[in-house]
Structures are given as C-alpha cells and as structure tokens.
Amino acid sequence: MSNTAALALTSKDFTSNQEVRWCPGCGDYSILKQVQTILPEIGLRREEIVFISGIGCSSRFPYYLNTYGMHSIHGRAPAIASGLKIANPALSIWVITGDGDALSIGGNHLIHLLRRNFDMNVLLFNNEIYGLTKGQYSPTSPEGKVTKSTPMGSIDHPFNPLALAAGANGTFIARTMDRDPKHLRDVLKEANDHKGTSLVEIYQNCNIFNDGAFEVFTDKSSKPNTAVFVEHGKPIIFGENNSKGLRLDGALPVITDLASGSFGPDDLWIHDKHDRFKANLLMRCFDTPKPDGSSLPRPFGVFYKESKSLYEQSLHEQIADSIKRKGAGDLDALLKGKNTWEIL
C-alpha cells in the first residue's frame, strides 16, 4: 500500500460521475465533501480504497466516490468489510453506516467487528432518525421522541453509541459533527492513521425528518457552552473565549470557571486517550447540555485509542506459519490422505 505522501490527487479525483441525491441541506453533503478533501491527503491511490455501506440515506455514500465500493444490505457492511479485509489486507476499507444501520439491525456485526479489531474505519452517520424510510425513531433518538412510529413519544432508552463501542472493546472511539469541517477532517485523518477498527460517530443533521437535532452543539451561540473539543495531552477547556474547563473530582467531572482565577489550567482534567476509564467518563457526559453552560458540555474528539493485534494480520500469520511448518499445500498429498490402497 503506497504511502508516498503526494500522489498529486485532488478531491475531484475522488468524485464519481453519479449525481448526488440527498435532500438539499442534508448534513451528508458536508461529510462527503470532507472525506473527498482528506482522501487525497492520506497518500493512497483511488484503487486502494474501498467504501462499504449498508442501507440508508447515508449508505448511498459509496456511489459518490470514485473509488471501489459496495452499497450492500441493511446492517451487514461490517461483516462484508471483514471478509474483504481478509481477502486483501492491503486495501483501505471505510465502512459507511447510519444510526439505524449500525446500531439497530447491524448492532451485532458492529460489536463483533470492534472486538476483532480489523484495521478499517467505520463512519457512523448519526442523525438520530431513520431517514431513508421517512422518519421513524432510531436507537439513538432521545426518549419521548415523537415520530411517525411513536405518535406518543418513543419509550426506548437510547444507546450511547460510544459507550457501547467501549463496552465492545473498541480500540479507537471518536465523535465529531457535520457542521465543523475542520474537526471532522482532523478526526477522520486520525481514524485513518489508527491501526485497528476506528469508530467515528458523526453527528449529522437530517433537515427533513429530524432538523436541528444537534443544533445546540452546532449553533454558534450555544456551541461554546455545549460542545467541548478534547485533545490528547491538553487540559479540557471550553466556553466563550475558553473561560471554562473540566476538573475531575474523583470520578465526577465538574465545570470550572477559569475566569474566577481560583483554578488554573493545571488543575484541569488533562485528556489522555489511552486511559480507558477517563475516556469512559467523557463518553458518559451525555445529558443534553443547557445552552447557558450551567451543565456539562457534550465532548467531541478522539476519546480512546488502544493498540491491539489486528484480526486480518493474525489470520495471515497463521497461514504463513502453517506453510512454514507443513510446506505450501500439496494437493496430491491432500487428495491421497493417509491410508490408501491400490486395485490393479
């Protein structure tokens, strides 16, 4: 897999001839654009890249990229991608999935992919709704959500997708949003650099069936107070002109007013993406924050990263071992077996 930095490709090279068919204003457009922007920067040729998706609005994604791709069936992209990765570990594989595709019908394949730790990237477009089927609630929709299928409000307690990924022993867990192109690009690149299954949850606005689901995080006025962007090794700071920070009181994250002066940056929680438990604390900051900053903000960024053996690598090592020990398979010997006799 060539990593020669500059193949002199541009985002155009990654744009297919297919007309993009999302609703005007859909968050998917921004994600597509950012992906097309970083692909030329990660030093891969088009033919080395494969996008595998399930079914959903988001899953139309592969058709719009001029790489190899498969728009498969609902929820099964992780399994298909696993088989493909085993067939050819050299490929750079990107799984595109939605909150329904990944967490409803595809939940089992996702958690097994995460535990096996194939080297690939999973982009989970979370719009907290079933878009393609025209607006039923999804496993990430907030409780009480009124949709076509829940006229009196949904009664399911939603998943916390990142906590679920952590519970499944995911080795790279991150969150970003369609409305913050730079952050989106940075997280995608870091995900791509990770050797292992990188799960990136992307908040994506469905302006037709769930418009404004994430407005509190994306709206300029509230964003500073409601969204905190964590960086490895740096103190966790947010708020208007970084006036606030998070401190850890035991296992309890508390908001700290930096303006007051009673606490300085060194008193703050320094984000360590290698610390499973602190990462878990971040993922569990999940209550919808008040715009005024009086409540814990929703964290974005790379929460957790761990290095662990890759499934496809171990598999091919076993093949190599067995060839080393037994020699490359001899078909005639195999057909012959142990006990034979001849009739003359």
Binding site: R46, M70, S72, A79, G83, L84, A87, H109
Partner: protein, 625 residues
Amino acid sequence: MKDNNLTDAANHVRSMEELKDVTILFAGDSGDGIQLTGSQFSNTSALFGNDISTFPNYPAEIRAPQGTIAGVSGFQLHFGSVEIYTPGDQCDVLVVMNSAALKANLDKLKIGGTLIANTDGFDIKNLKLAGYIDGVSPLEDNSLGKYRLIEIDVTKLTREALKTSTLGTKEKDRSKNMFVLGFLYWMYNRKMATTEAFIREKFIKSPELIDSNLAVLKAGFNFGDTSETFTTRFEVKPAPLPKGKYRNIMGNQALALGLIAASRKSGLPIFYGSYPITPASDILHELARHKNFDVRTFQAEDEIAAITAAIGASFGGNIGVTASSGPGIALKGEALGLACMLEIPLVVINVQRGGPSTGLPTKTEQADLLQAVYGRNGEAPIPVIASSSPRDCFQVAFEAVRIAVEHMTPVFILSDGYIANGAEPWRYPSSDDLSSIHPPLLDKADGDTFLPYKRDEKGVRPWVVPGIAGLEHRIGGLEKQDETGNISYDPENHQTMVKLRADKINRIADFIPLQTVDQGEMHSKLLLLSWGSTYGAIKSACKELIFEGYSVSHIHLRHIHPFPKNLGDLLKGFGHVIVPELNSGQLVKMVRSEFLVNAQPVSKVKGLPFSSAEIKAEVIKYFQL
C-alpha cells in the same frame, strides 16, 4: 447376501465360509468407542479391497445419561466382494455393548443373524436404564431364539488381558472396544496391521496405552481362535472395483477437499465463512486444518455474517464459500439475494437435516430443496446441485466452484447428514486429472470506459477485484442499469435485467453434461427419478429389480437448477415416473410443473435414509396395480 449363509454357519464344524457381503452394526454407549471400532474395521476392510459403505448414527445432540436408549451410539458397516451402494438395510451381525444398545437396534438384525453381546452390559442397573423394567435380561429369557447369540463378558476378559498392566481399571475398561474389534477381525479373517499402526500413532504419547490396546486387541482375536465355541469364520473377498488408487472418505471431508482442489485449479484462495451447526460444522473443522493451502476460515458471529463476509471476500477476489444447515440456511436468504444482484461468485452448502425449525438436528432429510430454489425475495434464480454420496461430494464441490466462478453467480450445494458422516472408498484423482477453472477476472483497464455489467457471450459480467487502477466501480443491491451497473429505476431496464440474470443461469445448462440414465433402458415402464443421498439405495434396488426382470430404470440428478437440457426428452421415454425423496415431495413438484408429466412422489420423512428394500417394495407395489 442370503440369510442362510449365517444360519448354515451355525452348525458346529470349524469351517471357513465365503460371503458376498456382510453388514455389521456396532452399538453401545456414547462412551464405548463405537465410532472408533467401526471406522477401524471399515478401514481395514477397505484396505483389504472390499467395497464398503458406512453410516454412523450418533445420539441426539445432547449427551444422554449413560446406559439409556438415548445414549446409544451406532456405527453400521456394509462391506463386500461386490459393489456396495448403501450401508445395508438389515444387519447380519449386531454387536451390542449394553442392554440399551440391544433394545435400540434388535429390529435391525436379520432373522438368523449373529448377535454379539457384552454380558457385562446386562446387569440389573443397565437393564433398568435401558427400560427392561422387570429387570429380566433378554439374554436369559430365550426371547432371542431367532438369532445366533454370542455372549462374551468383554469387560472381564479385557481386564484379564491386562492383569499385569499398571493401568487403573477405568483406563483398562476403556480398551473394551479393542477386544470386540480383535474378535471380529478373527471372525472375518482379517489382518490387524492397520489398527495396530493406528494404535501406535494415536497413543504415541503413552507407550502404556499402546501396549494395553494392542494386548486387548490380540486377546480378542485369540479368544475367537482358541475358544472352541466358535466354529465358523467368514471370508469376504476383495471387490472387483475399477483399477486405481483408493482411500476412504466422508462426505463433509470430501466437500472440503473439493473446495481446496477447486481453489488450486482456479488459482484463487478459498474464503470459508461459517457459523457452527450440526451436521455442517465438520467442513469448517476440516478446512481449518489446511491453512497451508491458503484457506481462510472465518467463524462468524452468525450465519448472516458468515455469508456476507463470504460475499465481501468474493468481492476481494477470493472464492467465497459458506455452509450451514436447517435454520442456518433459512437465515441466508436476504444475502443470497444480494449475491444474485451483484452477480458475484459464491458457494452455499446446505448439509440438510431434519426439519422444520430446529427439528431433528442429527438426522437426515431432503426437505430444503424448494427453499434452495425459491427461498428468496424477488426473482433471484440460483443454480442448485446435489451430491449423491460421500465421495460424490468432492466432484460436486469442485463443480459448484466452477459454476460460481465461471458464471459469476451464487451456487447452492445440497448435501445431507447421511452423506456428511457416511464413508465409502474413493478412487481419488490426481491433481492433473482435474480440469482447471477460468475466472472471468479483468486485471487492467482497456482504455475505453469500463462497464462492470457488460456481459460476454455466456451472459457473464467481468470480475474486477479492488486494487486495479482505472477499474474503480461501485456495485450494490438496488436494481442496476444494464452494462453500467449504475442505479436505475427505469421500468424497461428492470425487466431487461431480471431476464438477463435468469438467462445467465438458464444458459448454464449449456455447460453441464447431458443427463444419463443410471440403470435400465432409455425406455421402460417405470422410471425412478431421484436426487441427492438416495442414490445408493435406489441404485441397488433398481439393479435387483432389473435382475428380477422388472421394466424399470433409474435417473439420478446432480443438476437440479437448471435441469440438464435433455431431461424433458428423457422423461418422455417412460410409462410412469416416481420420485423417491426424503421429504413430502419437492423435486416431484418441480418436474410436474416443468414438464407436465404425471410424476408421483414416494415420500419418507423419518430422519432416516431409504433402505433399498423400501424402494423395491414401492416399485413392486406399483407393478402389482
């Protein structure tokens, strides 16, 4: 063989009697090493040159309490100096290690047959466990007068043989089965070399066990030799099998070998995605042992992941294969539709078992045929081929890969529990005997715009594996535009594509052999039309019927969809057609609808194979009408 052979044998003159064929059923507790005893005798007989057929019959999947009927394990062996097509209907010899084994199997012993009983297995405890409630031993209440009873206290004799050994009694008793085996080797005048070698290899780590097992084996042999009671030995000469090199093979093993051979002959690695299930799991176990053939086995989280991973692997240029049984196959329907739509190679093996639902997991059945042909949403035709015997599984697996790869389509293989675990001699091919397989791989752009769904004269699209510059393309499950493969909702295009996909499958008929008549004339009063594992029973029944002068023929199908091109014409040659199946009548439905012939079903749905006697009876009944 004729019954009287054995009954003659009953008069007390020490003699050597020649037999054409013999059926032995070894039966005992799961713990008694029955399967090992049976397979040892089988190998020895095969190596000696007999034709053989075997049928292991395990207890249902949960280990049942020792000594009970449910815990009985059986291994039936049919060997002969003539060609053998089935494990035998009824047994000449029944070996029972305990009371339950007798109760469960006595009905399978011929009148006048030999019953070898381990008396130690007939104490009160065992009798009660077996359900002889009054505790009276059948060995003692003369209820077995119709048989030639040989009572042996195997346990006692085994321990004696090991008097000097330092092993604990428990270990000692474990070699009981060797005593029985040795005795039978004597009875059928066999050399013990194969088994001795086997013992030496198996227990290589503990010389003690080698010695003890060898000792007991010999003790059993000598017991027959010395004891005055046994006056007759039997001889079954080698069978006049076609010249060549032979080995024994079981169905699932043959499927695995066929896949590996096809991998070599196509130059593509096998990817085997599977989720364990009885009776298909052994294919996974076998393939996992051959990683040095670049076989990639993937034990998936479920059947859907297994087949979709295989589809992903095929997209990546491997030969994607998946296997399951019963409920596991039912779960693969959606993904099969995707494979149809993608037009990608895929082999799906269904080792059928008793259904519906969880059904009878350890029993055999042929009731998944119509599911294989029709069990998907939309018009999603898939080739279906079936194996007729353990060794035939090799050919069928090879053929399935050929069709899948050369015609870019998923292919269904139908096997069943009977074939999967049964064994028979196989005149194994050399790699050179195998034709090579030609995948329609496209490995570089040829200038003009690439059309992933442009078809060749066979109606087959090119197979383009990710990694090739200039051929980047997207495929998916939505209806696609002819040639380009782009999404298309155009009505005319949909009709065109449905037709193109169907034509591609139908045209496979041009690339498979014409149907032949297996037995009998091209024109006769009655045709036996069959598929799958019923082959042996029907073949031998048909042979005998023809010998007895009946106007009957036998056609056995390997290719069920598409049918061989000449099948319709062939059927015209027969007065009547009956279709014996281990289901309620499935192939018969297809044949009636396709050819409008008044074919009639012969159904058996008992989780057991047909006996040739049952087939004969059906035919004779018909001729008596």
